[in-house]
């Protein structure tokens, strides 16, 4: 199984590169995960990651993309509540990429 080294600590990853143990997440781990996705974290990226983490803490799931855009538009401003904005930040798919960096479980892949 693959591991990710951050500050001298080994973090187990699953076969798709998601953090195996959600409790091990911190901002340095997030930065290292972002690197595996070739994503340069800016404030706008963090905004989405933090949003996902808060959403997960409250509802125990990552929202589907349509719900995510709606909820982000409501919380962070209308101009950010669309798929175009999110795909610019996370080109390989906000649901998958942003969830990975946020340390959330991988989406089950039904949609």
């Amino acid at each position: 199984m693959a591991t990710l080294e951050v500050n001298g600590k080994q973090h187990e990853l699953d076969e798709d590169g998601f953090l195996a143990n959600m409790d091990e997440w911190n901002e340095d781990v997030a930065l290292a995960l972002a690197k595996t996705e070739s994503v340069e974290m800016t404030e706008a990226h963090w905004e989405v990651v933090n949003f996902l983490r808060e959403y997960y803490a409250e509802y125990k799931i990552a929202p589907m993309i349509r719900i995510l855009t709606k909820a982000i538009g409501k919380k962070l401003g209308k101009e950010k509540g669309n798929t175009k904005y999110l795909y610019e930040l996370y080109p390989a798919g906000p649901a998958k990429q942003a969830c990975k960096i946020a340390g959330l479980p991988k989406p089950t892949g039904c949609v």
Partner: protein
Amino acid sequence: MKFGILVQEGPYNHQASDSAYNFIQAALEKGHEITGVFFYNDGVINTTKLMDIPADDRHISKRWSDLGAKGIQLIVCVAAAKRRGINPDVLIENARIDGLGQLSELCIESDRLITFGD
């Protein structure tokens, strides 16, 4: 009439997959159409080709595969399949792994959705 079929229980453990299969045979004989069979919950276990069954019993996964060969689509829910170790490597022929959106399609396309579960 167009029937969509939902199978929610595993083979041999429960009568649901036998009942579903028999229902489909009867419906086809009467000239009805089967829009597709969707496997969910433990129903996904119906579609593993790793089943090894003594000759004096019915071979449930082979039976489904033969039905698929006749052009009836067999859809296996990806999330339920992953949970139970069903992937394309072990999937029977003539079935496909797909999303729950396909169940939604089946509901829309069919006059009736018939559920076989517990």
